[in-house]
Symmetry: C2
Subunit: 193 residues, 2 copies
């Protein structure tokens, strides 16, 4: 495993999503792995940490989450822009070689059954909290974060270090149609007006 | 009213939140107005557009949303950093002059009962979609966006123009404890690897 990957304490896991990055959602069931992109993912609680993510009924990843009961949200880095765009626009249902064509390499960690995407900045391994009404009515899924990790070159000691890590490590923030913004410069809200 | 404010067509309203900005939540009931900051707000659907936002039970704004059934999510700009930090750290329950002390000026638009915060980049006026289980269990509120507006100096023709609008117009992305990032530079996901 990449020696830069280290656990993130659960009390600080929300910080991996708090700034609103577009994420990759991965899941596995019965030997089938898949990864999709999702801009509609959000922190939901601090302790235990929970997240929400919207998974359209057309996605194969959703079926894997429903069947397997687990998923991983990961924060892709700017140098994974093409990969992020590709997994968001190709479906495993039509293209069994989706992951290979999109340049996705998966790995497993610490007995987590859901696969993780190599090269990301951070990962949150989630247990699905079943809420059938939300899932059916709103395509809204809730997960409890049971473990989290970061690449310590960009998130360490509970803090993002985008400004030191180089432009390839910036998080991606999708607007629409393949138009993204990278996260930008730090601002200190405690510095006064 | 600020002559730069123009309606955003509902089909494109999700783009105001899609890149994950920290928002201000405003609401009004029985003559009481309030505004809070929320990093945990997210698009939920395209048509009709819906949003989610997490409103802690300790907040006065939540009580106004529950009583009045409406709220506005607005996207503050970087030059509103101090205001955003202030409304997120002061409560109307303890400080009846909160809004004045935080430098918030409110305005009304088009018969919308919830107040809007002057100087923001965009506004989404929402009708609460009552979901008592989500509200009680997860502090999770769903709104249907019934109208949206932007300041056309930074969002026009369905697109953000952060790169032309100047640094004071960048959206704010809170991580924790008053540490924010501004949104950064555009990246084209359709440009190839």
């Amino acid at each position: 495993m990449n020696p830069h990957i280290a656990p993130v304490e659960l009390a600080k896991a929300y910080r991996l999503l708090n700034h609103g990055p577009t994420v990759l959602v991965s899941a596995s069931h019965a030997g089938v792995d898949n990864v999709m992109a999702a801009a509609w993912a959000c922190a939901l609680d601090f302790a235990p940490p929970k997240v929400t993510v919207v998974l359209d009924k057309s996605t194969k990843t959703r079926a894997l989450v429903e069947a397997g009961g687990r998923f991983v949200l990961q924060v892709p880095a700017a140098r994974q822009l093409a990969l992020t765009q590709a997994v968001g626009n190709m479906t495993l249902a039509d293209d069994p070689d989706k992951l290979e064509k999109c340049g996705v390499t998966l790995f497993r960690i610490d007995g987590e059954t859901a696969p993780l995407v190599e090269g990301c900045a951070a990962w949150l391994a989630c247990r699905l909290v079943p809420e059938p009404h939300n899932q059916q009515t709103y395509d809204l899924f809730i997960g409890e974060v049971e473990a989290a990790w970061s690449d310590t070159r960009v998130f360490a000691e509970g803090h993002w270090h985008f400004e030191q890590a180089g432009p390839g490590w910036r998080s991606l923030h999708h607007v629409a149609g393949g138009h993204y913004y990278a996260i930008g410069e730090p601002l200190d809200g405690n510095a006064g007006a």
